[in-house]
Amino acid sequence: MSIEWYVVLSSLLFAVGAMGILLRRSPVVILLCLELMLNASNLALVAFSRMVGNQQGQVFAVVVMVVAACEVVVGLGLIVAIFRRKLPLDVDELRELRG
């Protein structure tokens, strides 16, 4: 299979994730969409790695997964904390950082 298919799939996944972040208001879904975007880039990395023929891209992909796992921990922790404090689970309501 040529590289284009992989890249197109990766772009589609990335676009879906980005759209989800822009359009959805629930922090849980936003977190999921973030994961989607990260994994879209992982897919591109692996595909390019195979095309080039060395392992570096795959190593990057593994590192990104580790980082993504950490990020999910922090993100879910935040969501639980928001829930515990009985704040609305809606990112548009949580806008205390307004300048």
């Binding site: 980005a18 972040i21 359009l23 990112v91 548009d92 949580l94 806008r95 307004r98 300048g99």
Partner: protein, 669 residues
């Protein structure tokens, strides 16, 4: 022990005394504190004698030693040591300062007995002596400036000693400000010296100066003029003199020690110490000599009209320092220092006697209220008379020999300096007049109320506690003079101190009688051997001729004073009425305070007001507020972006990256 070791010890004693009293003021009983203070200075005097004996054991040419304990600053071509310079001049000053100080500490031991600030007083007084010794012993200009500033502070602290008296604190501030002006002059002079010669050490500076500077060159003249600013401010010479009369707000022993005998002579010491530079700058030396002459005449006329006992003596001090400044500036180094020594004796004594009389007057100082103290206080009156005779240069007293030695030198140098001798004799007439004006108004006659009270009951008159300058009532608690006063007749320490000084005032001149002995000049002259001016010696005949003129003038002055103020007391009133403008001029102190107020104080205040009302409001505030507004405005624009909507941030991020990607795509294809 070597001379320098003795000198270091002399420096250490008053410092220790001051620290012990200051740190132990809660636990030390008052009299113990006084005893420690007096003993510390007494020991310093013993050390000074040790240093003198050491010097006398050496050859006259080898009698100068530098010694340093450690480096003060050593970097970038700068090498300042914590060093002292011991030679005939500094040992002479050491002896005068510690000797007079010991007696004045002894006097204060009795005089200040009832004051609430007794321990504080002795701590300050010891600190003053330490600073003064640092000043006269300093081996380089830096340490000299340190000592110079320290005595200024000590003077300030002691003038404002009764710190709840508004007049006293104001006088202290005035003295401090004028002294700091002098300090600036001295510091600038030291800068210039370092720039030209690359060193601060006295020995090196005076050795290099004749090679580097040309006779009468601009730089050396500028250095000397700056030194003179320092000397004039410290020695109360015109136009920096206005602080000295106000300094009489301090306790009388302070007036006696600092503002008569020692600190105010620092300017004379400075000129004598830097005589090498002044020889190279004849213009500056002449300016100094003329200022001295002007001061001695102007202060003499003011002293004639003062009705405040202490202020009259203060003007007399200015006048006598005028003689010394004139002397050391024209080359009469040893003679000027001789007058410094005898003046220290008789002026300290005069102040002590005045303090005793003021005590008997329940703190009043107005001579219009005083009379008849001869019958009430025999010993004090006698001492006032002795001091007055020496000040008026009565034949064979100490002031007689010292004053005329300066004038004889001026005459021997000739030229325009002859006029200085003539001016000096006019000043001598004024001196005799104002001195005996005080004496004839205070001592003879019918005893005044206070004196009568003392004669009848044997106890001091107790009036309400008032400020003699403003007649305001004061309480007698801490920060004001105590309610009880002490006079020499009832206090042994005061009497002993005065008797010793009286002895000095009468006989100290006998160590230097022309043609008979040469103790003092023989000792001091080698220190000034590097100045050709010290080669000039008036002949013995000329000196005795001068002494005869001096004696005649002194007797004439005393007789005139007797005629005016004792025999026909209505005459001064007639003169006052006749010579109204002259009298007004003198009684208003030649309007120096007003002139300084007009020329310096008011413009400075006006500039300050302009700065605070206009410059501050429009320029400074404008700049500050403008910066603030600019920042706030710029922030207002950027603020809009910070909506707090996470999703709009994400949109911006994604749009930004998409834009970047698009740009690279387009630019690469």
């Amino acid at each position: 022990m070597s001379a320098t070791a003795w000198a270091w010890l002399a420096l250490l004693m008053p410092l220790l005394g001051s620290l012990v009293i200051a740190l132990g003021f809660r636990v030390l009983p008052a009299r113990v504190a006084g005893a420690i203070g007096t003993a510390a200075i007494g020991l310093a005097f013993v050390c000074a004698i040790g240093a003198l004996l050491n010097l006398l054991g050496e050859d006259a040419e080898a009698r100068h030693h530098a010694s340093s304990l450690w480096d003060y600053a050593s970097a970038a071509g700068l090498d300042i040591k914590l060093g002292i310079y011991v030679d005939q001049l500094s040992v002479f000053m050491l002896l005068v300062v510690t000797g007079i100080s010991t007696l004045i500490h002894l006097y204060s031991f009795g005089y200040m007995q009832s004051d609430e600030g007794y321990r504080r007083f002795f701590s300050y007084l010891n600190f003053f002596v330490f600073s003064m010794l640092l000043l006269v012993l300093a081996g380089n200009f830096v340490l000299l400036i340190v000592g110079w500033a320290f005595v200024g502070f000590a003077s300030y602290a002691l003038i404002s000693f009764w710190y709840r008296r508004t007049t006293a604190t104001r006088a202290g501030m005035k003295a401090f400000v004028i002294n700091v002006v002098g300090d600036i002059g001295l510091v600038l002079a030291a800068f210039l010296i370092f720039r030209e010669l690359g060193t601060f050490e006295f020995g090196a500076v005076f050795a290099k100066a004749p090679e580097v500077f040309t006779q009468g060159g601009w730089t050396v003249t500028a250095i000397c003029l700056l030194l003179l600013v320092g000397a004039f401010a410290k020695s109360a010479q015109i136009p920096f003199h206005t602080w000295l009369p106000d300094a009489m707000e301090g306790p009388t022993p302070v007036s006696s020690l600092i503002h008569a005998a020692t600190m105010v002579t620092a300017g004379v010491y400075l000129i004598a110490r830097t005589h090498v530079l002044f020889y190279l700058a004849p213009t500056a030396a002449d300016i100094a000599a003329f200022t001295g002459l002007a001061t001695l005449l102007i202060a003499g006329t003011i002293a004639l009209t003062m009705t405040d006992l202490k202020r009259a003596i203060a003007y007399s001090t200015m006048s006598q320092i005028g003689y010394m400044i004139m002397g050391v500036s024209i080359g009469a180094y040893a003679q000027g220092l001789f007058h410094l020594m005898t003046h220290a004796f008789f002026k300290a004594l005069l102040f002590m006697a005045a303090g005793s009389i003021i005590s008997a007057m329940a703190n009043r100082q107005d001579i219009d209220r005083m009379s008849g103290f001869w019958r009430a206080m025999r010993f004090t009156s006698l001492m006032l008379l002795v001091g007055g005779l020496a000040l008026a240069a009565f034949p064979l007293t100490s002031g007689f020999f010292s004053k005329d030695s300066i004038l004889a030198y001026a005459e021997a140098r000739g030229g325009m300096y002859t006029w200085m001798a003539i001016g000096g004799y006019v000043g001598a007439l004024l001196t005799a007049l104002y001195t005996f004006r005080l004496i004839f108004r205070v001592l003879p006659g019918r005893p005044c109320e206070e004196a009568q009270h003392l004669i009848e009951t044997g106890e001091l008159y107790h009036g309400p506690a008032i400020n003699p300058a403003t007649e305001e009532l004061e309480d007698a608690e801490v920060g004001f003079p105590g309610a009880h006063h002490h006079i020499a007749e009832q206090s042994r320490p005061m009497a002993v101190a005065m008797a010793l000084l009286g002895f000095g005032a009468l006989f100290a001149g006998l160590i230097q009688v022309p043609g008979v002995d040469n103790v003092l000049f023989g000792f001091l002259d080698p220190a000034f051997a590097d100045s050709p001016l010290s080669e000039i010696h008036p002949s013995v005949g000329a000196e005795w001729r001068g002494l005869a003129i001096g004696a005649a003038i002194s007797l004439l002055g005393i007789a005139t004073a007797w005629l005016l103020w004792a025999r026909r007391p209505e005459l001064p009133g007639l003169f006052r009425a006749r010579l109204r403008p002259l009298y007004e001029l003198a009684v208003n102190k030649w309007y120096f305070d007003e002139a300084i107020d007009l020329v310096i104080v008011r413009p400075a205040l006006a500039i300050g007001r302009f700065a605070s009302s206009t410059f501050e409001r429009f320029v400074v505030d404008g700049l500050v507020n403008g910066t603030k507004e600019t920042g706030a405005g710029a922030g207002g624009i950027v603020r809009v972006v910070q909506s707090g909507f996470v999703r709009s941030y994400a949109l911006l991020l994604i749009a930004g990256f998409a834009g970047l990607a698009l740009y690279f795509l387009l630019s690469s294809s």
